[in-house]
């Protein structure tokens, strides 16, 4: 009887609570308006309240940082055991209080939490020029260091001065007006500082502007050097010149655009007349520059095709067989695990000669050993979920044989592979690559592994050249790893990373090392892969991203110097040979780009394109839908694979483009060739 009575009362209570939870409720918490200091711990209490102000207790309250569980969410951490939150970093953060009702109804509310910056300990104004001359603006940096040693760069604190010889505007631009000592003052958070500046007489009596060229092509980097002389005609060392340019394009609707660097290098993007200037204080000097077209456009002819009519095509590789003839292998995507082999000895007559079908849905990557005997294909979507790689004997490409399957540590799917000197480099689960010795291809053996070793490490591709593995690690950028080169004492069984470069978008998908024949400089060309709007099966996909040219001449200080970005189209795979880039730009086809000479700025806008190939065909799996996947220059022909069409070949002619069929209203701008 007692038990029934208790159950009745308990049920009634639950019913009452449930009824109350079905009303309009709001979570109330002492988190509301909370301000904390760094290092402070706080115990929140929360409950639900209805419109009448009646309090309803939660069965449990779960608190969490709205940024989630990763390192980005460490600014405020939750200790569920203690029921507390802890402020770790200054700023405004969001904590969610999730109230679980007695009957399980959930109610939540997000509370902004203010974590105060610790009190400032020091403020700094830094002048980044060794000398300041009258008439010039001062290059200044601002920094606050607080009591917990957090540094805030470029914190805005208004400058002031009692000196008559400098002027400060509302945005802290400071101009040196006349020679003499000047004092800049600033205060922030009750801390003050000042900076004394010696403003010098402008000693320059005469200026000279030297240039490496006075007539240049678009894309040519012209070096300027300004030189100042005093009244005695003596050269003045170390003058901090500013370089600028103006100009007029030949095309009246276009701007005379380009890029000028602080060191005086200038590159023009369009044809026209430019004026490059160097100034110091109120003194300046200018020099005209005539910019003409590069004159590099060539006719590109599609000469052969190996159409895949029933599947998407993925990557490909063209190679010389042991019989001296030329062959290619192509993978397939989202299909039945087939790879096709082609005789491409006559690029105008590509013949499908064999195929291999393995247990997979996607064979994303295919590679062939340097001696043309072994091919490795990657597997994704295997029915046993072991994936891994398949090693093939391609010594007779007309009769390809499976030698072995290798799946150890590769069960999450292999997206890309590379073969170099009896070793396969195979990506595993988008995280790392394993190095597998295939000297005995029937019995592959894992000998090494490389991973970046960071939280969220990720990888998309690996490419080997001269004993260096270049891995493309999305947000962690490119890693240069010694796997036999000797530069860092590495080997396949002991891969040693020795250089790295990453960039802000974090979309680093492929790498091609590039030693410029014309300049001797060493670059890594880093490609993005971006689908900004996701996947749309029913319409052409929007792609984005570009190639980043990183000058790696100094391995410890790589500098991104140039980009190739085709408007409206994103980059995929590419090849570089003899200072020419062959890049698959998805819907933009394969683009052939002159990358000779020093590289600086926006290469597409500089008119460096030699030609292009729209890789779609009318008899394709998806007809007339160009979706270029990759390109490879082989024995003078540009081979390519297209996601919708298959394999193709083309030839860059010596001829200028035939404009006889071009739109009569398009006048080509003049070039000097």
């Amino acid at each position: 009887m007692k038990k029934y009575t208790f159950n009745l009362i308990f049920s009634a209570l639950l019913l009452t609570t449930a009824t109350m939870f079905s009303q309009e409720l709001v979570v109330k918490s002492n988190l509301e308006g909370l301000t904390m200091s760094v290092g402070e711990t706080f115990k929140p209490t929360s409950f639900a309240e209805n419109l009448k102000g009646e309090k309803i207790m939660c069965q449990a309250v779960i608190y969490y940082n709205k940024k989630g569980v990763f390192s980005t969410a460490k600014a405020v951490t939750v200790n569920r055991g203690e029921g507390t939150i802890r402020a770790n970093e200054p700023g405004t953060h969001e904590i969610v209080a999730l109230c679980i009702g007695q009957q399980g109804q959930r109610l939540s509310r997000t509370f902004p939490i203010q974590v105060d910056f610790p009190k400032a300990k020091e403020i700094k104004i830094t002048l980044s020029a060794s000398k300041v001359y009258e008439g010039s603006f001062l290059p200044l940096d601002f920094e606050v260091v607080d009591e917990m040693n957090f540094t805030r760069k470029n914190e805005f604190f208004q400058l002031s001065t009692d000196s008559d010889n400098i002027k400060i505007d509302a945005f802290n631009n400071v101009k040196a007006v006349s020679p003499g000592k000047a004092i800049l003052s600033a205060s922030f958070d009750e801390i003050s500082t000042s900076l004394t500046i010696d403003i010098l007489d402008n000693p320059v009596e005469k200026l000279e502007l030297r240039a490496s060229l006075d007539v240049a092509r678009t894309g040519d980097v012209v070096s300027y050097e300004a030189i100042g002389y005093d009244s005695a005609g003596k050269l003045i060392e170390g003058l901090p010149f500013s370089y600028t340019f103006s100009g007029k394009a030949v095309d009246k609707s276009n701007n005379a655009s380009g890029l000028i660097m602080n060191d005086g290098r200038f590159v023009a993007e369009v044809i026209g007349d430019y004026m490059v200037s160097a100034s110091i204080g109120s003194s300046s000097v200018s020099r005209p520059l005539k910019v003409v077209g590069r004159g590099i456009e060539r006719e590109v002819l599609k000469v052969g095709k190996g159409v895949v009519t029933d599947k998407h095509t993925s990557d490909f590789w063209v190679f010389e067989g042991v019989d001296g003839r030329d062959y290619a292998v192509t993978g397939t995507w989202g299909a039945d695990g087939t790879s096709f082999f082609w005789d491409v000895t006559d690029p105008t007559s590509i013949k499908k000669i064999d195929s291999v079908k393995v247990d997979a849905r996607t064979v994303n990557d295919v590679k062939v050993s340097q001696d043309g005997r072994i091919s490795v294909i990657s597997r994704e979507g295997a029915s046993d979920r072991k994936n891994g790689i398949i090693i093939l004997d391609v010594s007779n490409p007309y009769d390809v044989k499976v030698l072995s399957e290798y799946t150890k540590n590769l069960t999450g799917g292999v997206h890309n592979v590379f073969i170099d000197n009896d070793h396969v480099y195979a990506l595993s689960g988008s995280q790392r690559y394993y190095i597998i010795n295939i000297k005995d291809p029937k019995n592959p053996v894992e000998v090494g592994m490389f991973e970046v070793g960071k939280e969220g490490q990720s990888i998309h591709d690996v490419w080997i050249e001269d004993g260096i593995a270049y891995s493309s690690n999305w947000r962690d950028g490119v890693y240069l790893v010694d796997v036999g080169n000797g530069i860092a004492g590495g080997s396949p069984s002991n891969p040693v990373a020795f250089a790295n470069y990453d960039y802000a978008t974090g979309a680093h998908h492929a790498t091609f090392p590039f030693k410029s024949k014309s300049t001797g400089k060493f670059y890594t060309v880093l490609g993005d892969e971006i689908f900004p709007d996701g996947v749309d099966e029913n319409n052409p996909n929007i792609t984005a991203g570009f190639l980043h040219f990183v000058d790696f001449s100094d391995l410890d200080n790589p500098i991104e110097v140039a980009k190739y970005e085709l408007p409206g189209q994103g980059s995929h795979n590419y090849w570089i040979e003899d200072d020419i880039l062959y890049v698959a730009m998805y819907g933009g086809g394969v683009r052939i780009v002159d990358i000779s000479g020093e590289l600086l700025g926006d290469l597409f806008r500089q008119g460096r394109e030699i030609g292009y190939i729209m890789t779609g065909t009318s008899d394709a799996y998806i007809p007339n839908a160009t979706m270029a996947w990759g390109a490879q220059l082989y024995k003078g022909y540009v081979f390519y694979s297209d996601w919708n069409s298959g394999l193709g070949s083309s030839k860059v002619s010596e001829l200028k483009p035939d404009n006889s069929k071009a739109n009569q209203y398009i006048n080509k701008t003049p070039i000097i060739d």
Binding site: Q59, A60, I62, Y64, K66, K67, G68, V69, R80, L98, I100, G104, Q105, R106, S108, T110, S314, W333, G334, A335, D336, G337, T338, K357, D359, A360, R361, T362, N364, E380, G381, S383, R385, N409, L410, T411, G412, G413, H415, G429, S430, Q431, G456, Q457, S458, I459, H460, W474, R475, E529, F531, G534, V535, D536, E537, N541, T543, H572, W629, W643
Partner: protein
């Protein structure tokens, strides 16, 4: 007259047949299909492309529909490197929000108690190390916590009252019970017949459990022993194994009808489905229309089991509809490649 009236009533009853709707993921096609079964015929109403990278396989794996029926949730196994959870509107089948989870997120369910979603991170990448259960608030789509469990956890299912989440660790051979409120592991149970638990190195559980499902009415959970070819019954009150039932080859996923009468298990290695009336001794075995049987969900009226079959290579994925009373495939439909995850949405009159 009476006979005519009866005939009319019968005809009216027939005309008000049930319409069943469910979602199925095709892991190697990066699509999800919305499917209708009208009692006789199965129809693919819509094929929804999922993922964001056209030229990368992102692997839609797990599916669940929230209790309101307003949203469905999809785990995408592959990312950079983490997989993700995407929330879709059932009204438009368009994505409305997304969050990152752990490595290879797979099966999941929403707790009726907390409203939180619990998804196992299967981590099918060859790493023999403990993975986790991600807890997500589906309202804000925030991953609140990753709760460490065993090696290759799979089969996330909630207790009927929503208080506990169950999953099994395929390689370490363990059953995990997570407290849905405290977000901590409450209990673990070794499922292997021997107690040679060694989580270091390359221990491979001989049971290789791949799924766990609580009984809707009794304090029991049932585990698919994919490696030991058995269904394991565990009494959750005493937290002990109470029965081991032999099955065909490779039981993989399990569902139990809401009336507690039928247990249906996919037999991956046999391309068959086991239909077991729990109060009877001998289960029936139904052949599927393709190979690699994967997922199963039973309609809430306990009449039909919808079973996904992956196929191999270029084979299309399939959904076989099994009439539970007849223990027979009554309809089938082809969808995208490697059909796997399946979630029931609604019944309409």
């Amino acid at each position: 007259m009476n006979r005519s009236l009866l005939l009319i009533l019968f005809a009216v009853t027939l005309s008000y047949s049930q319409e069943y709707y469910f979602y199925v993921a095709a892991e190697s096609d990066d699509t999800v299909s919305l499917i209708n079964f009208d009692g006789e015929t199965t129809t693919e109403i819509e094929r929804i492309p999922v993922g964001v990278m056209k030229t990368e396989i992102e692997g839609p794996h797990g599916l669940t529909v929230d209790p309101s029926g307003d949203y469905w949730y999809l785990s995408l196994a592959h990312g950079n490197p983490y997989g993700s959870l995407v929330k879709y509107s059932t009204d438009t089948n368009r994505p409305v929000d997304k969050t990152t989870l752990g490595m290879f997120p797979a099966s999941m369910q929403i707790s009726s108690l907390t409203g939180l979603l619990y998804c196992v991170n299967f981590n099918l990448h060859g790493e023999m190390k403990p993975s986790s259960v991600s807890v997500v608030d589906p309202e804000t789509m925030t991953e609140i916590k990753q709760i460490q469990t065993g090696v290759m956890p799979h089969g996330s299912r909630m207790s009927p009252n929503g208080r506990f989440q169950y999953s099994v660790a395929m390689m370490s051979g363990e059953l995990f019970e997570v407290d849905a409120l405290t977000l901590e592991v409450n209990r673990t149970l070794n499922l292997d017949k021997t107690h040679n638990m060694n989580h270091k190195g390359m221990y491979h559980s001989p049971v290789k459990p791949t799924w766990v499902t609580p009984h809707p009415l009794k304090p029991k959970v049932y585990v698919a022993g994919n490696g030991s070819n058995e269904i394991i019954e565990i009494d959750t009150e005493i937290w002990e194994i109470t029965n081991r039932i032999d099955t065909g080859k490779g039981p993989y996923n399990i569902d139990i009808s809401s009336n507690g009468k039928f247990l249906v298990a996919t037999l991956k290695g046999d391309a068959k489905t086991m239909v077991w009336e729990l109060d009877k001794k001998n289960p029936s075995v139904v052949s599927n229309n393709s190979s690699v049987t994967h997922g199963v969900v039973i309609s809430p009226d306990s009449k039909y089991a919808f079973v996904t079959v992956e196929g191999v290579g270029g084979d299309p994925g399939l959904v076989d509809v099994i009439d539970l009373k007849k223990a027979k495939v009554v309809s089938s439909i082809s969808i995208g490649k490697q059909a796997g995850g399946i979630a029931f949405w609604k019944i309409e009159e």
